[in-house]
Assembly symmetry: C2
Homo-oligomer: 530 residues x 2
């Protein structure tokens, strides 16, 4: 496939601006061939206007047709074969197997949403039957279900060039719901984005989707993204990335004449609480698991554990020792891009200024800065040391973590109360630990979207019950998730029909329930007809 | 009951500030007896801190106990008898039967939420079972359900001193979910708020709820409300009122260091489209219904129809004539307070400057401005006249509306495309009309939270399927409703448990499903145990 570096606006390719940028191979520092054109405001306007114009057609399509579209996207994605994986690898430094894993994750996710559409109950159909004889006022027939809100802007993550980018849950769930999508390509993997977008556009053409249902725009700076979020036809935006970037765009969305929801999944420190029973049982396995979680993907997971807390004891010392040894063995590896590498290096340098923070262990092998390589670093501090340095409660993106030794349960509780919202919190313990540390667990439930027991937070299952979000700053709105089928809720709203003629209702609300979906009729769940 | 005019912070009464204000009887212009103290920042902090401290206890309580609490609130509300209704009437100019209706609506709503809690399925419990043998990675056991988010601030509406104020769906659904509530009393009915708050506090004491689960603060200016929304312990706020007030507080919430959702139900123009078939069939009934909807509650409903659109014809002229006659017969009545009365009067004066707008009819009887009385006014204009004056697409709170004659279907479509988001849009038609006007209906579904057929938007059924919200500016976030059981979703977020021990899970996620709630297990709805 030849990359053109142009905006893909429906079936039109466009390069209005002569301003260009290139992807860079972080492992070599060399720019890649294709020159990508910055999207102009006029191009973004064309994409948004077209998306708005076809919204009605796309929304009113039978859900099965959108399911077919998603499955065609799967087919076209797989059809790109290794060429797609190779460009993702070149742009991000991810080894090829990681890119394969991401691609498989993305296609399985698209299949899951196709199944969700075919099953059909996700629309939360509710019917309250009327009663003309009710006094003092007759009871109307009221029915409602979730409907798509309109064109959606998507900003993918730098760290998952395939699974949380053009082909990620944001695009797929928005298309599933019936919303046209405009993706702002990530400037660190513009070629991967272009290829993925071409797969979607090919699928759209094949399945005769209306032109404009999907567009891709490129941009290195913040202008194109800001313009997109400000566009009056855009009804919601989804973002995965840094707190700084996410918050800036949240503020743009909130300041619009007509504010729109900006669903951001942002930074997270993902603390791990290691309770005494667990520490006694299996310190080796724990240390292995922890260092693996911490270094996986060069520490570039949103659920990377940035803190581990334990109660001061011989076992904790032993655990720290084991962690130190394992970290020493970690081979420095290439990070996603020079910007992330520089931020990590700066963060590590800043840690050195903190006298209450001791370096517990670091990679023995040296990192090559010209290959954007990051070494792993683990620090240790006390409860007081942690509370004295609020930066330790913030995410440092990369293979680094801090072990915190606490005096007793109440110290842990005090730290827990100070935690910012996190995507995940992990607890290692025995059942006896859980009983003893109940006051801690109570607080942890306020602080995270997902609580993990005796496991590690990296690796997020794509399923109906998953929640990948949490209190701010983990996410911009704690009701919504960016992974799992519930994430479709970001792009819909209830529409309510009062005394509306049966024949004119959306299928899922018609008396006959032709697709046999689950509905709440007068408060009772049923698949029956009315 | 003696009113004290103090803040009710848990069981403590507090009046730190000597700055006071009084309610005013709009029918007489006379201030009412009680002096209400402005809440200070320290008082608001005490209320928020206490709410935060008891949140864990309130959240972890068996749902049945919160249901008992809601039912005790019903009891205490009813126990206040006419004294409560009389103060609401004196503060707002609402006739006593209207206050009775509101009270009954509020208690029925509280009962509905108590039933929702006892049934238990509202928590949207989802379980995806683990599979240790899956390759390449074992599948974790993942479960999630909705949990309360923390202390909630509530700002009630001026126009429903009982049903959408201290005892409204915001307070009741937040308490139902397990969130402590702090109500900022509406300054136009502070005495009604104090009485209602005392009923809630009495119920809380009787049912041994933790102190701080409910507080009331008073304030005339914007300071107390702003301070409340900015308080770091407040996790969400709900508001019903004007676009100006709602937007100002939305912006405050979005600008916090940790932004919180601000759920505002704001202005709405609630257009009515009268299609030719309906116009032919029953012009008299239509005119009766329209003028009734327009003048009900002195036009002070959020769903008051501010526009009616028809196709130019003899029937439309006849309808206009009938509306004009009925409006003439409307007896001017007292509005809620001098501020609303002045805004209405100014709006009517401004209408006179528009040369494309003709006064079609007005109340024959004169309005007494000293009794805050409003006369009804109906205007007529053309499609072009409407599009030339954007203020006609904005809400004018009071008994006034504009009839718009359109040339043909495409004119109606053009207007529909220009409409701002509305709480409701009504269509009068025959089934033949609906077929012919399909392109119009398609657009209307993008513009409102509720679509009504052959009825009128005023009077909102409290039920599971109701949606009272819509695209901005009808509401701040179109996913959420402020009326109907779905409104509890504003105060909760999914919490996800991965491989969590069964005994430590919330009841609704435990294998045994002891309360028999509906759950989604591996994508299938069931009440079975795991």
């Amino acid at each position: 496939m030849t990359l053109t570096g142009k905006q893909l606006i429906g079936t039109t390719e466009s390069a209005d601006s002569s301003e260009t940028f290139q992807g860079v191979n972080p492992a070599t520092g060399k720019p890649l061939d294709t020159k990508f054109h910055e999207a102009t405001a006029a191009e973004i306007d064309r994409a948004a206007t077209m998306a708005d114009e076809v919204f009605g057609t796309f929304r009113d399509m039978l859900a099965e047709r959108r399911a077919d579209f998603l499955e065609a996207i799967v087919e076209e994605t797989l059809a790109m074969g290794d060429e797609f994986l190779e460009i993702a690898s070149a742009e991000t430094g991810h080894p090829l197997p990681r890119c394969t894993m991401e691609r498989d994750r993305a296609v399985n996710q698209a299949r899951l949403f196709a199944n969700l559409l075919r099953e059909g109950s996700w629309v939360d159909a509710r019917i309250d039957l009327g009663d003309a004889s009710r006094t003092p006022a007759p009871k109307p027939d009221v029915r409602s279900l979730l409907q798509p809100i309109g064109p959606v802007a998507v900003f993918g993550a730098s760290n998952f060039p395939i699974a949380i980018s053009v082909l990620g849950a944001d695009t797929i769930s928005a298309l599933a719901s019936g919303c046209p999508v405009i993706v702002k390509a990530h400037p660190a993997h513009p070629g991967t984005c272009e290829m993925a977008a071409r797969a979607i556009l090919k699928a759209a053409e094949k399945m005769r989707m209306p032109e404009g249902v999907f567009s891709l725009v490129q941009g290195k700076g913040i202008e194109s993204g800001t313009t997109l979020v400000q566009h009056p036809k855009i009804m919601a935006a989804a973002f995965t990335g840094s707190l700084k970037g996410g918050r800036a765009l949240m503020d743009v969305a909130a300041a619009r004449p007509h504010p729109i929801p900006f669903y951001a999944e942002m930074g997270s420190v993902n603390p791990i609480f290691i309770l005494p029973g667990a520490l006694k049982e299996n310190p080796e396995t724990l240390a292995d698991g922890f260092v693996n979680a911490l270094t996986l993907g060069v520490g570039q997971f949103c659920t990377n554990p940035g803190l581990a807390l334990g109660i001061q004891s011989d076992e904790w010392d032993r655990f720290s020792q084991l962690v130190s040894e394992r970290v020493a063995q970690y081979t420095p590896s290439t990070m996603l891009h020079a910007g992330i590498h520089a931020a990590y290096t700066d963060g590590i340098l800043a840690r050195a200024d903190n006298e209450e923070l001791l370096l517990l262990g670091e990679s023995e092998a040296e990192a090559d800065p010209n290959a954007c390589e990051a070494a792993a670093y683990v620090y240790e501090t006390t409860q007081q040391g942690l509370l004295n340095d609020p930066t330790l409660l913030e995410e440092l993106f990369g293979p680094s973590s801090t072990l915190v030794s606490c005096g007793k349960l109440t110290d842990m509780v005090e730290i827990a109360e100070k935690l910012e919202g996190s995507l995940s919190i992990t607890v290692h313990g025995t059942e006896a630990d859980l009983a003893e540390f109940k006051p801690l667990l109570k607080i942890l439930q306020r602080k995270a979207g997902r609580l993990i027991f005796n496991g590690f937070p990296v690796g997020i299952e794509v399923c109906h019950s998953m929640h990948h979000g949490g209190p701010f700053p983990a996410a911009s709105h704690s009701f919504f998730t960016s992974i799992g089928t519930r994430c479709i809720q970001r792009f819909v709203r209830p529409v309510c029909y009062q005394n509306w003629p049966n024949s004119q209702l959306p299928l899922a609300l018609q008396n006959e329930n032709p697709r046999g979906v689950w509905r709440m009729i007068d408060g009772v769940m049923t698949r029956d007809e009315v």
